[in-house]
C-alpha cells in the first residue's frame, strides 16, 4: 500500500506541471487583457504602456511563465492586477467558504443519495422506486440557479425560516447546501441504485440467499458494500466540482467563494487571480482523484494487486 501511495504521489508532479502550463496558456489565449479594466476615461497611451510594463505583460510568454512558476514553487501566487492584493490572500479569504459549502453539500448528497439509492434498489420496480426515480430525474434536470431562487422564495420569503442571502450565520448555509446537495443526491442515488441492482444479480448474492441470511443483511452488508465502489469514484470526481462549480449558487445567495472569485477575475482578465484559482481547482480535482483511488484501494484488495 505504501509503494502504491508513493507511486501515485510521484505521478502527480508531471500532472501538476502540465496543468500549470495549460492554465497559464489558456488564460492568455482568451481575447482581452487586464489593462483595459484598469484604464480610466482620460488616461493616455503612454500611461497604458507604462502600466503594461509595470505588470510585466510586455515580456515574452515563456519568460512570464517561468517567473510565475518559479514564484509559485516558493508559495507566491503573485499580486492581483485589478484586485490589488496578493492572490494567496484572496484565495485564503474565499477558500474556507467554498470548503464549508462544498463539504457539507458533498456530505448531504453522499448520505441522502446512498440511502435513497439503496431504498430504490431494495424495492426495485415498486412504487417507492418509481417515486425516488422521478424525484431523481427532477433533481438532476432542475437548473441550480432556478432551484436556488425557488428555495429562497419558499423557505426565506414565504416561511421566513432562513435568511435570503449572505454568509453571516450558519443558518445562511442551509439553503445553498440543499440547493447544491440536491443535484448531487440525484447523481449518487442513481449510481448506487444501478450498482446495487447489478451486484444483486451476482452468484455470490444468490449463494447468500441460499445460506438463509436475512435479506436486509444481504442488501446492506454485502450488496451495498460492493456497490459503493463506483459511488466512491463519482464522489471523488465531484470534490473538484463542488469547490469551483458552485458559482451560480454563490451568485444567487451572495456568498463569497472560489467560484465567484474566478468568474469575477475572468471577466476582468485578472491573470494572476484566474491562474491561482484554476490551479486550486486543478489541485482539488487531482487530490480528489487521489483520495478516490486510495479509498478504492483500501476497499478493494483486487485493485491493490493490479496496481502493484
Amino acid at each position: 500500500m505504501a509503494l502504491f501511495l508513493i507511486r501515485r504521489l510521484l505521478l502527480l508532479i508531471p500532472v501538476f506541471l502540465a496543468v500549470s502550463l495549460v492554465i497559464f496558456m489558456i488564460v492568455r489565449f482568451v481575447p482581452g487583457d487586464p489593462i483595459d479594466n484598469l484604464l480610466q476615461i482620460g488616461s493616455t497611451e503612454e500611461q497604458k504602456t507604462a502600466m503594461i510594463a509595470a505588470y510585466g505583460l510586455d515580456r515574452a510568454l515563456p519568460v512570464q511563465y517561468a517567473i510565475w512558476l518559479g514564484k509559485m514553487l516558493q508559495g507566491d501566487l503573485g499580486e492581483a492586477i485589478i484586485l490589488r492584493q496578493p492572490v494567496s490572500t484572496l484565495i485564503a479569504q474565499n477558500l474556507p467558504h467554498s470548503l464549508i459549502l462544498g463539504s457539507l453539500a458533498l456530505a448531504f448528497s453522499t448520505l441522502v443519495g446512498i440511502a435513497t439509492g439503496a431504498l430504490a434498489a431494495s424495492f426495485k420496480d415498486g412504487w417507492l422506486d418509481r417515486l425516488v426515480m422521478t424525484l431523481i430525474l427532477l433533481g438532476s434536470t432542475l437548473p441550480s440557479f432556478w432551484l436556488g431562487l425557488l428555495m429562497i422564495l419558499l423557505f426565506a420569503v414565504q416561511l421566513g425560516w432562513f435568511p435570503v442571502s449572505g454568509a453571516r450565520s450558519w443558518s445562511a448555509l442551509v439553503l445553498p447546501v440543499l440547493t447544491i446537495g440536491i443535484g448531487g443526491v440525484a447523481l449518487v442515488a442513481r449510481v448506487t441504485r444501478a450498482a446495487m441492482i447489478e451486484i444483486a444479480r451476482k452468484d455470490f448474492v444468490t449463494m447468500l440467499h441460499a445460506k438463509g441470511l436475512p435479506p436486509l443483511q444481504i442488501q446492506l452488508g454485502h450488496v451495498l458494500r460492493h456497490a459503493l465502489l463506483p459511488v466512491v469514484t463519482i464522489l471523488s470526481l465531484r470534490i473538484g466540482w463542488v469547490l469551483g462549480g458552485a458559482v451560480t449558487i454563490e451568485y444567487v445567495f451572495a456568498r463569497p467563494g472560489l467560484g465567484s472569485l474566478l468568474i469575477t477575475s475572468l471577466n476582468q482578465r485578472d491573470y494572476p487571480v484566474v491562474q491561482g484559482c484554476l490551479l486550486m481547482l486543478a489541485i482539488a480535482v487531482i487530490l480528489g482523484t487521489l483520495i478516490g483511488d486510495i479509498v478504492q484501494a483500501a476497499m478493494d484488495p483486487r485493485l491493490r494487486e493490479t496496481l502493484r
Partner: protein, 523 residues
C-alpha cells in the same frame, strides 16, 4: 414594595426603549450589482470605487445634478483669468477620523500622491501646490485646466488622512480607510460587506445636504449582492433597508410592493451605437445618416424601458450644457430621411426588402456585449434597421473579448454600447484619432474633428469657453453621423418606507454621502 416594583418596571421599559432606539439607528444598504467587488477604499490608487467611498471621504467640491459645483472641504475657489492658477479656501476645524487636522499641508501632501497611479491624469495639469496660509492653497498650473472642478468632484478625489495613508502603505483601503466623511470604516470584506459607524465629529457637509451635522444613522452596513433578484428579495423580506441601484426592469415589481418606495435621479449613462467609419459601407456618410435616423428611440424607451428614462438625441446626457446643440443636428427617428439617404447612396430595395448595390446586399455586423438589457436593445435595433432595408447579424461577446475585437479595427461595423460619464470630455475619449479601435470604436479620424477636439481639450481657459468649444466639437460629430444615440437611463433606488425616511429632494449626481447624512431611520 409596590414603588420598587413600579420603578423596576419603569427602568426596564426605559432600557427596552433605549435599546430599540439604538437598534433602530442601524441600517443596511445594498450596493448596485455593477459595483460589487470594488477591491478597495483607496481613492488615490483604486481604479474602481463603490458609492460607500463618499460616506468615508469628503472631496474639495461636489457636483449637483444641474452640473453646478458646491464646496465641501473647500469653501470657495477662484481661477486666475489666464487659467494658470487656482486658489482654494479650505473649511476650518475639520478633523480626520483619526483626529489628524485637515489643512493646507494635507493638500500639499495629497496632490503629488497621484503621480504614477492610474488616476494621475486628473492632477496632471497641476504643476505644484503652494500654501498661502493654513487654510488657503494655490494650485500653480502647467497648462490651464477648465475641467479642474469636475476632476476635484470625482469620487477618486476623496481626501485620505496622510498619517493613516502612509502608515498602512499598500494595505491602505483594505485594512483601513480614514477620511473626514460622515462615516468611519469599521470593517471591510471585499465583495461581501462594509460596516461603517457614524463620525460624531462630522462638520463638513456641503450645501447639497440639509443636515449640516453628523449623520442620523449610527451604524451602516453596506452589503454587496451580485444577483439583482436576491437583492430584491432581501428588501422584500426586510433583510435590508435600501437598494442603492435597481435595474429598470425591476421597477414594476418594486412599485407593486407595499411599503417599498422607488425614487429616481437623473442618469449619467447613454446607450449609443458607434458605426465603424473605416469599413464599408460606413465609409459613406449617407449610409451612416440612414442608420442614425433608422433608430426609433421612443419605441425603445417605451417598449423596453417602460417609459422610464429619456430618449438620447445627442452623444451626451441631457444635463450637460454641451448637449444643448443646434436642434437641426439632433438625431431622432425619421424613417423617410433614412430611406432617402439610402436611395441617394444607391442602395436599392430587393424583393425581400433588403437593399442591395451592385449585387452586394446591405448586410452588416451588429455587435453587443452580454447582459439582458444589451441583448434586448440590440434585437430591437436589428428590427428597426430591417424596416429601412438593412439586414444586421447580431453577435454577443463578453466585455473583455469585445474590446479585444475592437482593437483589430476592421472586424466590427455596428455595436450597441453604453457609457457612464457626466462630462463632455467623453467626446474626446470615444472620438479622438489617437485612440482608434478602442475606445474610438467609430474609427473616426478626421482633421476638422481633431482640430475642434484639440481646441476643446487644451485651448479652453475658462469653463464657459470649454462649453462653447465642446459644443462645437459635439455638433461637428453629430453632423458626420459617426454614431446613433439611443437611450438615457435614470438612476433608480428603492427603500423600505417603514424603515427609512428620505430627504424630500435628493441632490447630487448620484446617491452619495451628501444624501446619506440626511437619511433617518424611523423609530
Amino acid at each position: 414594595m409596590k414603588t420598587i416594583l413600579k420603578a423596576a418596571l419603569f427602568g426596564a421599559s426605559l432600557c427596552t426603549l433605549m435599546g430599540s432606539s439604538a437598534l433602530a439607528q442601524n441600517a443596511t444598504f445594498v450596493l448596485g450589482s455593477r459595483e460589487v467587488g470594488a477591491p478597495s477604499y483607496n481613492p488615490i490608487k483604486a481604479t474602481r470605487l463603490n458609492a460607500a467611498n463618499t460616506f468615508i471621504y469628503d472631496r474639495m467640491v461636489i457636483q449637483d445634478a444641474d452640473q453646478s459645483f458646491h464646496g465641501q472641504l473647500a469653501t470657495s475657489w477662484e481661477a486666475a483669468a489666464d487659467g494658470m492658477s487656482w486658489t482654494f479656501k479650505l473649511r476650518p476645524n475639520v478633523k480626520f477620523h483619526d483626529g489628524e487636522p485637515f489643512n493646507a499641508q494635507t493638500i500639499v501632501w495629497w496632490v503629488p500622491k497621484f503621480k504614477g497611479t492610474e488616476n494621475a491624469f486628473m492632477t496632471d495639469a497641476i504643476d505644484k501646490v503652494e500654501v498661502v496660509d493654513d487654510l488657503t492653497v494655490r494650485f500653480v498650473m502647467k497648462t490651464p485646466d477648465p475641467n479642474m472642478l469636475f476632476n476635484m468632484a470625482s469620487t477618486f478625489m476623496g481626501i485620505p488622512s496622510p498619517k493613516a495613508f502612509d502608515a498602512l502603505g499598500d494595505r491602505y483601503g483594505v485594512a483601513g480607510a480614514v477620511g473626514t466623511g460622515p462615516f468611519k470604516l469599521e470593517s471591510f470584506t471585499v465583495g461581501q460587506q462594509t460596516v461603517l459607524v457614524r463620525n460624531d465629529a462630522y462638520n463638513s457637509a456641503s450645501a447639497l445636504s440639509a443636515n449640516k451635522g453628523p449623520a442620523k444613522i449610527a451604524r451602516l452596513t453596506i452589503r454587496e449582492i451580485a444577483e439583482d433578484s436576491t437583492a430584491f428579495l432581501e428588501l422584500k423580506t426586510g433583510g435590508v433597508d435600501m437598494l442603492m441601484s435597481v435595474p429598470t426592469d425591476f421597477l414594476p415589481r418594486l412599485s407593486a410592493e407595499r411599503g417599498t418606495k422607488v425614487m429616481t435621479l437623473p442618469g449619467t449613462e447613454v446607450y449609443y451605437m458607434p458605426m465603424n467609419t473605416a469599413v464599408e459601407p460606413f465609409t459613406d456618410i449617407k449610409v451612416r445618416e440612414a442608420v442614425a435616423f433608422a433608430v426609433n428611440q421612443k419605441e425603445i424607451l417605451d417598449s423596453l424601458f417602460g417609459g422610464v428614462g429619456a430618449v438620447a438625441n445627442t452623444f451626451l446626457i441631457s444635463g450637460l450644457a454641451e448637449s444643448k446643440v443646434d436642434p437641426k443636428l439632433m438625431i431622432s427617428y425619421d424613417p423617410s430621411r433614412s430611406r432617402k439617404a439610402l436611395d441617394e447612396a444607391g442602395w436599392v430595395a430587393g424583393p425581400d426588402g433588403i437593399r442591395a448595390k451592385g449585387g452586394v446586399k446591405l448586410q452588416v455586423k451588429l455587435w453587443t456585449q452580454n447582459g439582458t438589457e444589451f441583448k434586448r436593445v440590440t434585437e430591437v435595433i436589428q428590427a428597426q434597421l430591417k424596416a429601412v432595408g438593412i439586414s444586421a447579424d447580431i453577435t454577443i461577446f463578453d466585455a473583455a473579448t469585445i474590446t479585444a475585437q475592437y482593437r483589430r479595427r476592421t472586424e466590427h461595423q455596428l455595436a450597441v454600447r453604453v457609457y457612464s460619464w457626466a462630462n463632455a470630455d467623453i467626446l474626446d475619449w470615444f472620438h479622438s484619432g489617437k485612440r482608434l479601435g478602442h475606445p474610438n470604436h467609430a474609427m473616426w479620424n478626421d482633421p476638422k474633428s481633431e482640430e475642434l477636439n484639440e481646441k476643446a481639450m487644451k485651448g479652453s481657459r475658462t469653463w464657459d469657453e470649454r462649453v462653447t468649444n465642446f459644443r462645437a466639437y459635439h455638433e461637428h460629430l453629430l453632423s458626420q453621423f459617426v454614431f446613433a444615440p439611443i437611450y438615457q437611463p435614470v438612476q433608480n433606488f428603492a427603500f423600505s418606507e417603514a424603515r427609512l425616511s428620505m430627504p424630500a429632494v435628493i441632490r447630487g449626481t448620484r446617491l452619495q454621502g451628501q444624501t446619506v447624512v440626511d437619511i433617518e431611520v424611523k423609530k
